[in-house]
Every structure is written in C-alpha cells, then in structure tokens.
Amino acid sequence: MSFWRAIAVGALVAAAPALLAGEIPSDARRSGYAFMGPDTRAMQDDDTANPGMLFVLDGEALWTKKTGSAEKACADCHGDARSSMKGVAARYPAFDKALARPFTLDQRINLCRANHQRAAPLPYESRDLLALSAFVAHQSRGVAITAGDDPELKPFVAQGRDLFMQREGQLNLACTNCHDDNFDKRLAGAPITQAQPTGYPLYRLEWQTLGSLERRLRSCMSGVRAQAYDYGAPELVALELYLMSRARGLPMETPAVRP
C-alpha cells in the first residue's frame, strides 16, 4: 500500500513542471493593475483619459511616415499594424539569429531603422521610440504573453532569472525579495506588486510620461542603491526577458497606467 503511494507521489513530482523556489504559479499571477486604486484603474481603462494613448497616437503617425535615406515608412513593409503587429510585443524580447542573442522591441525598431530605413537609431526613452513601441505593443493589447518560448532563449531566460535572484546594492536586495516574497505588502505608502511587465511602455504617474521597462528596472536598481545597467545592456535585456517569461499567460495592457 505505502509502496504504491510512494510511486504515485514520485510520478507527480516528475510530471510537475520544474517549479522553482519563490516562483509565482501561473494561476496566482496578477498584473500591477490589480494592485492599483480605482482612480488609477479608471485612468487606464478609458482610452480618452489614458495619457499613454497620446503616445500611441504619435506612434501611429510615425508608422506611416517615410524616414531615413531609404525613404521608407514602417507601413511600407509591415502594412496595417493592426493585423501585422498583433501579438508581436507579447513575444518580445525575441531571439535574433544573426546576433545570436535576444533583443527588445525598442532594439528591433532600431534594427529596422538601420537595416531597412537607413535611418539613425532613436535614443532610448526618446519620445519617438516610446511612441513607436507603444503603438506596436498596443496592437497586442489583450494578447497573452508568450515571451521566452523560443528554445534558443533558454540560457538568456536563465541569466535573467539569476539576476532577478541576485542580491545587489547598498540595501543588498534582490528583485525576488520584494516581488516574489513580499507582494501585497507595502513599501512606504506604495503596494509591492509582483513585477509583471504587462503594460510596457507604460504611463507612470510618478514620471508623468511614458517609459520603458528598462527605465523601470533602472529605477528599482536606484531604489536598492545599486549601479543600474546601461540602457540596452545584455543584463537588462535578460532581466526583461525573464520578467516577460515569468508573466506568461497574462494579457498585454499597453499602454498601462501605473502610480
């Protein structure tokens, strides 16, 4: 009797996905939206009240604007973004075979500019880059996140996870200490969320503008008094990739509004 029970238990353990310590199971994952007050939720829910939509509108105009020495617009290759870009942002960061590493949506936009439009790259956090990536990501609103599924990304997801678990800064805190172990509690007046990056680029009331996930990660690093990685650094891309894979299944919300 106990022999059979042991086998049954053994089979269960073997069949279960490798659930890592501290990891949030898929049915317990919650967007930052769930941690906000009703006023901030209302701001996100209504497209004519959501200031992030101003950037989406700007991005829509940029999408059809010819640029660079190739005199090409995004739309000249990709057509109507409503169909061609639907679901794309939910898969980013994605693996680039030529570069043999993952790259973010912002980096993808700049690769397109360099290779196809022959235009200068847009600086990180510039209005045009945020507007374009908001417009592209907005086409995936409601689509479930599947980033990190590509098997080639596996080592980079693992790198991002290591960074997430690694203590750093003068406060000697890892991301996991707050966002796996202590979500639903408060830090000063603010609720600690699960750090699910469902709505980037998003409008942060604190910033009074749209910002990227990299900007948010850099703020967190400043918060724990650590040296923040540079924009586009492989470590930030890996963290972004891990966070997106950790949010697997949650719907995209771009442009989200957060306190």
Partner: protein, 155 residues
Amino acid sequence: MPTTRRQFLSLAGGVTIAGTIPIVTVRTLQATPAMLNTAIRNIVGEAQIRTGKVKLDIPPLVENGNTVPMTVSVASPMTANDYVKSIHVFNEKNPQPNIGNFYLTASSGRAQVSTRVRLADTQKVVAVARLSDDTFWQVTAEIVVTLAACTEEMN
C-alpha cells in the same frame, strides 16, 4: 560595462541617468497659508466666502502626488438666472498657491470640472465657486500624499 558598487558610490553625489531623462530636483519652496489666502483674495476681493455648495472629489490617499485626479462640482440649477460663473482651485504647499481657474456659462448644463493636479506634499486644497449673483462658496479638503518608494531622483 557596469561599474562596481564602489565606483558607483563615488558617483552618488551627482547621480547620472542616461538617455533623455533630465535629472531634476525640487528644492524646498512652499507656498504659505498667507500666500494661499492672498491668492484667494485676488479672486474674491473683499466679498464674504461661505462654506457649502462646492464639492471636491480627490482620492483621500493619493497614489502619486505628481498626477492626482480631481473633480470639482457645484450644486447649481445652471439656469440663465442662477448659474456658476467660475471655479477656482488653490493649494497650500505647492510652490505656488494656484492650481486652475475654470470659467463656465449659463449653458454649461452642469457645474463640474475634472482635471489632474500635482500636489507636492500632504496639504489642504481649496475650491471656490463664484455664482451668477456674485456670491462665493468654498470647500476645503485635506489630501494625504505619500511618496513613491523607489524614485530615480535619488540624492
């Protein structure tokens, strides 16, 4: 590429943030209750200000002081003979006491205005309405502003 923690600490006096995000700090500079009073008197003159009729909707505990949703409404029939001419909103502790002046007409239908404001600190917000008979009515709300836990503008 990333510098060491020690190198970072030596930089900490002048924090650098890449990209196009300006590094800015706000020095302590506050309107005083006297400035608030003067700003209100600039609008109202010597007239008496009564309490009532005006309603101020602001979340009692603000999620972020940089963008605070606010609605002011005034109980008024909004007819040609009895309407709200204007609504004036003030604060106590931002660097300046004025938030906004809003001018309505008899055909506004409803005396209600919404906007989003900045509140630098926990403070009093005052809304004053001028009716068509040139009487003034006010309401005061005490707003608690909490500071974000992790901000870029660290010193």
